[in-house]
Symmetry: C2
Subunit: 331 residues, 2 copies
């Protein structure tokens, strides 16, 4: 299989991106196309010993920055690394695309260039996050700031396909993010969505309060993109704050420094268990091709894992399974 | 001053509530009225030595449970501990009311019985939370699942009054919760609210992404009640998960147990710094009386701190200051 990677996306591009690609061709025997300024990409590639047949470059000079208007940027910069990468999937010349660049531009570009799966009203960004009792998916996490109730049903359908096929969890649970456990709680969107979700033939478990989400007891939690993005970023912010404060406190005295050394195995396990990088990127579900958004701060490992995730997507024929599932027309 | 406390509210009522009241009359020389079944309340009070003149009971037999419909419960149970407590503030027979009971019933009751401050469109629940660099307020945290842009402006005004007068922070910063830092990001509500907030004469600092909120760098963050409640509960859920996992891991071997003992000062400081109980309860701002919602899981200390907070509210004449501020009619 052949994966195209946006060489210029993310805080540590191109070097971390290229390092991730090098690791991936060695571990997974995949073919990779990198988009970006050829000279710059080659300079990074020259640092490594690798099978030159496995990586090709599509030269393009433009770069879309995070602060650009997503739709405008995609329309104007047709020679950008994101645009060229997405185009390759559209043309069928790559089986999947990965970018750690501007989320807005990647989602807008994926929708405009790759296009939606027939029947999907709103593609959704769906990261997998580490929970106490297992990974969970929050869908949508920012592609749709406003949603209709029926969109949330489709999010549940797509999340179900992902969990069953990529994470191999049978009959995964689907919950509705809400600010109360009772059916009549919430805003207009959640009240209506609840009614529709109850009628679905997947394993709908009712409302899930945000306090319960990090346990991972519910596999797929559906919400509009504003709420999902809020959950994702609050999660990251609280965890980052706790760990940075802990670190400062541990470094504050000899006693606590020794304690920190004694607890190193605990912190290491923690780091591993709560590392979103383990799960690759956030899948953009509902578009007619495999589009993975890697975290903006992705290092080589995160990028490599996003490539592994794309391979799994392809091998498990997820796009087709979503098509079949959506055709059941639950809403 | 005289504070009325719902004797039957919260997971640990009446015993933790009564213990908190006893501590408060000793520390703050305040007069307290407790609502609830007299026999039950007296049984708790009998456990303590205290000045009997400082605590009186209003006997009422009904209790509103968390799973009852808030408005229905308030309308039907006029002899409940929450209703009676709110009624006392309405009649001017108490200067403030505190309940750790049903949030929905308390908010509905406060709005219906105590009433709104003239000019306030939507009263809002406003907890103070511990941030890395200082406390911050999220307003609204659940009173209004749907909001209009102008509501968010009033939330900012009320939050400003609180920070200046209770937390003594001059010219506090007000931010808009949004899923991007740029002005045009977000949903219809945040786009419109941003325009209005920019025109306000308080210290509006623009959009605040949820990842930044836990730093506490912005004092007051405004949002609709669905989003605010999501932030609050995600915050609680992530923190609880991290600490419970840490505890389990520390207890898993002799080495890590010793490490845990060495780090006890760190964890103790953490517990104190990140303890929402330190800040009392969540003020319900915009109603025409001091109404404090204590956390459902309040222990005696949390209840006592909520009483301290109510005293500070009263001494600083917050209700009147909000009135004056709202009359400036920013929207």
């Amino acid at each position: 299989m052949r994966i195209v990677v946006d060489g210029m996306g993310g805080d540590y591009s191109p070097y971390a991106v290229i390092e991730g690609c090098i690791q991936a061709i060695k571990e997974y025997n995949v073919d990779i196309v990198v988009t970006g300024p050829e000279e710059l990409i080659n300079k990074e590639l020259d640092k490594y010993q690798y099978n030159k047949e496995k990586i090709t470059i599509i030269d393009c000079k433009e770069i879309i920055e995070n602060n650009e208007h997503p739709v405008m940027a995609i329309r104007r910069k047709k020679n950008s690394s994101i645009y060229k990468a997405l185009e390759l999937v559209k043309k069928g010349e790559a089986d999947a695309v990965i970018s750690a660049g501007s989320t807005g531009a990647f989602l807008a570009g994926a929708t405009l260039i790759v296009g939606r799966i027939k029947g999907v009203n709103r593609p959704a960004l769906a990261p997998i996050m580490p929970g106490k009792n297992g990974p969970f998916m929050v869908i949508d996490c920012g592609a749709n700031a406003e949603c209709k109730p029926k969109n949330l049903v489709q999010f549940g359908q797509m999340g179900e396909v992902y969990f069953e096929n990529i994470l191999k969890i049978k009959n995964p649970s689907v919950g509705l993010v809400n600010i109360g456990s009772e059916e009549e709680k919430g805003n207009e969107l959640t009240k209506e969505a609840h009614k529709l979700l109850k009628e679905c033939n997947f394993n709908f478990v009712g409302n899930v309060e945000p306090r319960e989400i990090p346990t991972g007891n519910v596999n797929v939690v559906v919400c509009d993109g504003f709420v999902g993005n809020t959950i994702l970023k609050t999660y990251e912010g609280v965890a980052a704050n706790i760990f940075s404060t802990l670190k400062e406190e541990i470094m504050s005295s000899t006693r606590t420094k020794i304690g920190g050394i004694m607890l190193k195995p605990v912190f290491d396990k923690f780091k591993k268990d709560f590392d979103y990088k383990e799960y690759g990127g956030a899948a953009f579900l509902g578009v007619n091709g495999i589009c993975i958004k890697a975290h903006g701060s992705s290092d080589a490992k995160a990028l490599k894992n996003a490539i592994r995730q794309a391979i799994s997507f392809h091998e498990n024929n997820i796009i087709n399974k979503i098509k079949v599932h959506i055709e059941k027309k639950l809403v």
